[in-house]
Subunit: 218 residues, 2 copies
């Protein structure tokens, strides 16, 4: 098998890539990297060789001899390597740009702020309690979803952009999963919720759910 | 003039886009959005219309009738709209992927954690002093640069990727500017520093420096 994904069941960045692989219908080996056990397996010497940033996910494509980190870079790579049956980045330059921007609204301005390592740093640096770090995470997700809900009013159809699943949906759905963990009030976001429900009705999204991974702990 | 960039002199995301516009040699109107004055002009009603996330930068391209946020989405858009004289994203799919991943190492995992709004939130939520938030910012930049310095050892030439300026350099150079603000020890990063010096010798980078903008305050 050519493709190996190193990930973690509850990492939303890993979750995005799993959806992409499922939509593309390509087989891959999934290697769990436990972000908590053993002081965090992402800090082990062999994993650091693969990914010096010590974060998940990492995709290894043996056929192309590439080791790649960063979920959005991986998704665009998969989209170029396996152009069918779904195109996750549209062909027209203004549409491509808007899909990338919405994906980055989540991947740059939302998810990194409620990452496990950031919440741990708040605890160690500012003696923040669990309640407080949950509020911290919910604050940034709420700010972000307020803006995304507005953007979607002008562009959404069944999915974030009309009637095709794009990279933006692959970022939105895992972020909504995370929002539930931090008790974000999703009734404020009817469009985000509708799109998430539409996506989750697709087998590729369902198969990628954290609880459906071999390393899930419930 | 078709292109308008809404930005802030010291925003590293705005700085990335300025470099791209300069490398492409396209004229643009620069509209400063002061992130501090008047409670933050990014929160004003007219700006919120342009960008509901209330962040900079935003690019408006009247000819294509597009309003675009997110610096990396903007840079890829500019690269597709103005393919010459420099191509900021290489043509081959594995090279493109590696450039995007390095750009996202900064745009997703580094810069958002030392953003003004995040440092302000640390102050208001945890009564963090300026020294403490500076250490917070330096912590994430150091973690990130440790990994990037390692990656560069296998791929760098004059710039991040061999001998062509790419989107990765457009992210790295502003992040180094920010590292200096937070007293990160740059002697640990000889490759990052060399590449930054090589980039800053180019007029497109020099013209994009924060202190060379009409809204700079020194």
């Amino acid at each position: 098998m050519s493709l190996t994904l190193y990930g973690y069941w509850r990492s939303t960045a890993s979750y995005r890539v799993r959806i992409a692989l499922n939509l593309k219908g390509v087989e891959y080996q999934y290697v769990p990297v436990h972000l908590v056990n053993e002081g965090g397996q992402q800090h082990s010497a062999p994993y650091k060789q693969l990914n010096p940033a010590q974060l998940v996910p990492t995709l290894v494509d043996d056929d192309e001899d590439i080791i790649l980190n960063q979920s959005l870079a991986i998704i665009e790579y998969l989209d170029e390597r396996f152009p069918s049956p779904y195109q996750l980045i549209p062909s027209h330059k203004t549409e491509r740009a808007r899909v990338r921007a919405l994906a980055q609204d989540i991947a740059c301005d939302t998810q990194p702020l409620s990452n496990l390592r950031v919440l741990n740093q708040l605890k160690s640096e500012y003696s923040a309690e669990q309640d407080s770090v949950n509020r911290w995470a919910a604050h940034w997700i709420t700010l972000s979803f307020d803006a995304i809900e507005k953007r979607l009013q002008t562009q959404a159809g069944k999915y974030c952009f009309d009637f095709d699943v794009t990279m933006a949906d692959l970022c939105l759905v895992p972020q909504v999963y995370n929002a539930h963990r931090f008790d974000v009030d999703m009734t404020r976001y009817p469009l985000i919720q509708k799109i998430t429900d539409n996506c989750n009705a697709l087998p590729a999204f369902e198969k990628a759910l954290p609880e459906n991974q071999i390393d899930s702990v419930l």
